[in-house]
Symmetry: C2
Subunit: 344 residues, 2 copies
């Protein structure tokens, strides 16, 4: 029913017997219009079911009321938690948040960014496939605020918010060594992912510094950061000769760790006695695993919140300077590494 285009300011103005400008004022600066007319206009709006046309507003204003987040992997709850943090901040500034998912593919990422530019979003938050990509630099050059999330931008060309991944890798492996492990596996990949590279790097660093034998740190590469790949890594681990087999594993994210955990339990291993496992991210399901997972916590929502703050600053503050925020990761020890850890 109720067919026909939706009513415009003009219709409201006619119905209330005032001019266009007045209707606009009622919406945007109610204090300048007399209570009587305001009331009349508001009634007219309600009667006609008027809904402001955001495209027109935006066209005239030149700026939209939305932020966008392009996440790296929709299947990893970590990114949804980051998004939730951004959303809260956006909400506080009365902005909408547009969420996209590049799924790790640079092509999709570019398509999304293109669309976002067409929409003239106020700012773009992104966990990029490659922080050095041309299309990112191009956007920034246009003057659109871009903030890199969970990676640090190259050469300070962008604001960024991240956790110190090298440090994260360090504390994870340090913890395992403290628990008495002398043979450790590090699991993750592909190394084209910056986060992976740095976490593994941290692991190697601290391994060397603690004076452990280089050969006793086994790297098991994966092709993705998924539960399935974690299981597969578990199988490879089990295939190693007993005397060389690691007694603990550090996985570059929780999805891998969860897969490994499941495979290990299925194979009858006792956790953590026969295999200790540390993950990364501390997603909600890490604590909820049947053997609660020790993990390197990133302040997920905080990350998002801070990133939103930076993008807003860049959008509104003329004196804005790019900054690289780094959060400190924190080890959350649970039963997957400590025999009788209190679990939550």
């Amino acid at each position: 029913m109720a067919i026909g285009r939706s009513p415009s300011v003009k219709d409201v103005a006619a119905s209330a017997g005032v001019s266009l400008g007045t209707v606009s004022n009622v919406m945007n600066r109610p204090e300048v219009v007399s209570p009587a007319t305001r009331e009349r206009v508001e009634r007219a709006m309600a009667e006609l079911g008027f809904v402001r046309n955001e495209s027109a507003r935006q066209l005239r204003a030149g700026t939209s009321r939305t932020l966008a987040y392009v996440m790296l992997e929709g299947s990893n709850p970590f990114f949804h938690d980051v998004a939730a943090g951004i959303e809260m901040a956006a909400e506080d500034s009365d902005l909408s948040l547009f969420i996209c998912n590049s799924n790790g593919r640079s092509g999709r990422e570019e398509v999304h960014l293109d669309r976002l530019m067409q929409q003239r979003v106020q700012g773009i938050l992104i966990t990029p496939v490659d922080p050095g990509a041309r299309h990112l630099a191009d956007i920034a050059k246009r003057g659109i605020p871009v903030v890199i999330v969970d990676r640090v931008g190259e050469g300070g060309a962008f604001c960024s918010v991240a956790v110190d991944d090298v440090l994260g890798g360090r504390i994870a492996v340090e913890h395992l060594v403290e628990q008495g492990h002398t043979r450790v596996a590090v699991i993750g990949g592909p190394e084209s992912i910056g986060q992976v590279r740095e976490r593994l790097e941290g692991a190697r660093q601290v391994w060397a510094e603690l004076g452990m034998k280089p050969d006793d740190l086994t790297y098991l590469p994966t092709s993705e950061m998924t539960v399935a790949e974690g299981r597969s890594a578990g199988e490879r681990l089990a295939g190693l000769p007993a005397r060389r087999r690691p007694t603990a594993a550090f996985c570059a994210n929780d999805l891998l760790a969860l897969g490994l955990l499941q495979q290990a339990i299925g194979a009858g291993l006792r956790i953590p006695e026969e295999l200790a496992i540390v993950g990364f991210d501390d997603i909600e399901f890490a604590a909820a695993a049947a053997v609660p997972l020790t993990s390197v916590r990133q302040p997920r929502q905080e990350l998002g919140r801070a990133a939103a703050g930076l993008v807003l600053d860049e959008a509104t503050n003329p004196a804005h300077e790019h900054q690289q925020l780094t959060f400190v990761p924190e080890l959350v020890a649970r039963a997957s590494t400590v025999a009788r850890a209190r679990s939550y």
Copy 2:
């Protein structure tokens, strides 16, 4: 750098020495413009770094190129999988997808819907807090296509795509009875959530039909559908006197089931021998739990895809008729109910 507003069609036209209309044609109907001019215009666009202003396009065209999905609970991966399905369909039609999250609160839902109307989205997909809510009906009355996802709309006022929740509850409990259980717990809540109501309803139906004693079906209500509530239900379960204590539980979603599972294992119960567990949704983490979880699978992405199809039909096909699509849920038996189930 590169300050100043971004170039418009007019600038491109000037730079290429043609009229506005021609530039527009290059973008929208390239076949009507001669290869030579087209080439010239395209070069000008590239040089100036022209990006079409979507607001202006939309204002003139009266219609946007975006769909929206308002999900019920951002913390439940199930909805993200539905969203992924929608996104694929949107992609096929060259539409963008705007994702919002009401977090179960009717107020947020309304705010989001309001914004979406202002943006003149092509259609709205929503898993509503309450499918009977006024604001939903209002939107539909305006002629904006609305499709209810994972619930069926009341009185056929909307298109909807859902799984037969009653049937889902039936097959879950039927499965438990087949495994020889005679005392079963059903866990979920609050009952204000329609999905919960129907799943429990199905459970009760089949329990009666199979001639089981009504008193042997224990209902443990929860205040939310979260992992934490699942654990708490587990504690209440453990508190029941042994002779009345159920030997199996049907949880209204996987998050609850995961929490219950974890609590039970922590308490030293053997799964499924001492407690069998069935969840609902079959989210990815269900299979990845340390004791892989038996669950009632909903075709998550399919749900989203189908919903997108309906909303598009309603948006473009004048002869559109509302329809209620119902998918059939499917039991996926894993180790949490069947002692030596193959796990994946």
